[in-house]
């Protein structure tokens, strides 16, 4: 199949790509752009490790065609923060020891970010956080600390820097 041009906006930057029509967004991120923060696992939208934000909403990049993202805004874990400027959710995950093997964590953080952005400052209950994260699996089963970290980050949302609140 011949390739064709696709411009994608990822983490605020425009990327000019030549893609095949069946490529998933996940394949473009990892295979074409080397952005390996977004993880690959089940490839059937069951596990959530590939979660990114599409126009601010959490989506499974493994079953989303790159073509479906034309003209829309994508944010990956690389766009959230860096070691010198952690996103408050990243800082909360570290503080609460919410990371075991770490493989699910980028997806967890992107899922949590979209959830908290939608709630706009309302601190969610533990049940609400667990429901929100239900499409994102941790096989170390370290859920309690993950949930604690998300709630702690939500509580401090008013003191998040402006760019951390942007979706």
């Amino acid at each position: 199949m011949t390739r064709h041009a696709l411009d994608l906006t990822i983490n605020g930057e425009s990327h000019q790509l030549m893609i095949e029509p069946h490529w998933s967004l996940l394949h473009v991120l990892r295979g074409e752009l080397g952005m390996t923060g977004t993880k690959e696992n089940c490839l059937e939208a069951e596990c959530g490790v590939c979660t990114v934000l599409l126009d601010g909403k959490a989506v499974n990049s493994c079953i989303l065609l790159a073509e479906q993202c034309r003209g829309r805004s994508i944010v990956t874990i690389e766009g959230l923060g860096d070691p010198e400027h952690l996103h408050p959710l990243q800082a909360a995950f570290i503080k609460h020891g919410a990371v075991q093997c770490g493989y699910c964590i980028p997806g967890m953080i992107m899922t949590a970010k979209s959830f908290l952005d939608e709630r706009r400052g309302h601190v969610p209950s533990e049940a609400e956080v667990r429901e929100a994260l239900s499409g994102t699996l941790c096989r170390c089963t370290g859920y309690q600390k993950i949930v604690d970290a998300v709630i702690a980050a939500a509580r401090q949302r008013n003191s998040w820097p402006e760019e951390a609140r942007r979706s």
Binding site: M1, E20, P21, H22, S24, L43, E44, A45, E46, G48, T51, L54, K57, A58, V59, N60, I63, L64, L65, E67, Q68, R70, T111, S114, F115, E131, A132, S134, G135, T136
Partner: protein
């Protein structure tokens, strides 16, 4: 694996592409099922025709009717303020489809056209006597959803037809809808049985059941009994529903267990509707 991706700018252009490529093409809504089927090599369309950007993703209400665009996501259904009272079963069902990531992409139209007997929103729409609107190369037509659904994976839709909207009459104030789902876990689960009930005070009763037959079904005999006898017939209506449905044994549950669930969930959903009507009535 390889297909051409088409992004038509109008509904007519999309229909034209559908007509041109016929069985070799598939319309793409959210793609949360279609892309997985392609990846598993169960489907190998040569053309994907995107339905994004055609203005089919809206939800609107008139004084008498609710119209949901086929491309509206389940997240949009969950968030729609007009669905919090008599139409609560709509967000109840959409809220348990996949996880958040799926609900942000998967569409109402996809849930209908895919024609899975276990589709969660379809029983609610059936219970609301919904109508589907189709546009194709020979024009537009509307069909009751109950007639549109044929069996697992099959509908009355022709290959060049697009499901554009699903609509239903606004229920009266003294009415309620309720949705119940049984799965093997609380989230990210395909229904073992799902049930939707629509009850109008001193009026009609609708009972629709998913994952209990080769398509989502209504149970007119149970509905008639409830319409005639009201509250006192809820348990018997559940039993009739269990008797009339034809679930299968599969990896998720046995047919026998599914029938037990049908009886109980129908009774509970009817009771929940009656309770809501009573509470809303001062």
């Amino acid at each position: 694996m390889g297909f051409a991706f088409h992004r038509p700018e109008t509904i007519d252009a999309a229909i034209g592409l559908g007509r041109q490529h016929g069985e070799a093409a598939r319309f793409l809504a959210g793609g949360t099922d279609l892309i997985i089927q392609i990846n598993r090599r169960r489907l190998a369309p040569q053309h994907l025709i995107s339905l994004a950007g055609l203005g089919l993703d809206g939800i609107s209400e008139t004084p008498t009717e609710v119209v949901i665009g086929a491309m509206a996501t389940h997240d949009a259904v969950v968030s729609w303020p007009g669905f919090q009272k008599e139409l609560l079963a709509l967000p109840q069902a959409s809220a348990v489809i996949g996880g958040r990531q799926i609900r942000n992409i998967a569409t109402v139209g996809g849930n209908i056209v895919n024609a899975s007997p276990a589709a969660d929103l379809v029983p609610v729409l059936l219970a609301l006597d919904a109508t589907v609107d189709l546009s194709g190369s020979t024009g537009s037509r509307s069909l009751p959803l109950d007639r549109f659904l044929v069996e697992r994976g099959r509908t009355e839709r022709r290959p060049d037809e697009i499901l554009t909207t699903v609509r239903f009459a606004k229920p009266p104030a003294a009415s309620a809808t309720w949705f119940l789902k049984a799965g093997r876990r609380k989230a990210m689960e395909i229904s073992v049985i799902c049930v939707a009930v629509h009850l109008v005070q001193n009026g009609k009763a609708r009972i629709a059941i998913g994952a209990a037959a080769s398509r989502t079904v209504r149970v007119p005999e149970a509905e008639a009994l409830v319409e005639k006898q009201g509250l006192s017939a809820f348990r018997e209506a559940g039993q009739i529903a269990a008797d009339k449905t034809t679930p299968i044994d599969d990896v998720r549950a046995s047919a026998r267990y599914r029938k037990l669930l049908v009886a109980k969930l129908v009774e509970r959903a009817l009771a929940a509707c009656a309770d809501r009507i009573e509470r809303a009535d001062p």
